[in-house]
Point group: C2
Chain length 136, copies 2
């Protein structure tokens, strides 16, 4: 299994407009894209830093996964995503190793990536995403 | 303020020996260092992936910061660390911007880095570390 880098860190926030004041105005990062991901019931905002993106996640539905996360835990780091090649094979390997896959096959995420989530029960508490940019 | 990349992601685990089975045996990362940081009351284990390190944190004291984190929230992502140059100036800028600094001046962290933490109340729920490797 080849994981090349941290593709992004997902951070749950109540309001992207509010949190941007910190990430842009104070940390000096640049938001290069805002995108709604309807099947995840989130609005996302992306900032690049080195190889990695910060992905702010604002819920568009209190019953969606990020809405529930914030209700239970408050704002904070939601998940980390590893970049890979050949995501289908990686998921098969993880499944064979006993990792509990939330997505057994890849689906489309923000920025057109193929993505799949691993259940935190199998990853020592870390909601983990595997993703591949097949346009690269 | 120049933040160049995500230096590391700190992940709180109950047992580094257990969690290594996942990070090494399943994800295929290599643990290149294990180090105790006495003033933080943790044992750390480092894995490199691209520009970023995964830093597993095992508490050596239930009353220490990671021990309390796990008791309250369970295992999971504990903090993210941004790499910078000129950390003293960066901290002054953050202070002037109204960010609540846990460390007003840098102290020594794992791997000999100069580090300082920002309070999650000022950073939309994300315990954030700023660090500089002055040997580079």
């Amino acid at each position: 299994m080849e994981l090349s880098h941290i593709e992004h860190i997902g951070i749950a926030v109540k309001s992207i407009d509010e949190a941007r004041k910190y990430y842009e105005g104070i940390l000096g990062l640049t938001c290069y894209a805002v995108e709604e991901v309807k099947d995840q019931r989130v609005k996302t905002a992306f900032f690049k830093i080195g190889q990695t993106k910060i992905e702010l996640l604002e819920s568009t539905d209190p019953e969606g996964p990020v809405g529930k996360f914030i209700e239970k835990k408050g704002e904070g780091i939601h998940h980390i995503a590893f970049a890979t090649k050949g995501i289908e094979g990686v998921l098969q390997d993880l499944d064979a190793s006993g990792v509990n896959l939330i997505d057994k096959t890849p689906r489309k995420g923000a920025e057109g990536l193929d993505i799949a989530f691993l259940h935190p029960k199998s990853t020592y508490g870390v909601l983990t995403e595997i993703c591949e940019d097949k346009n690269k």
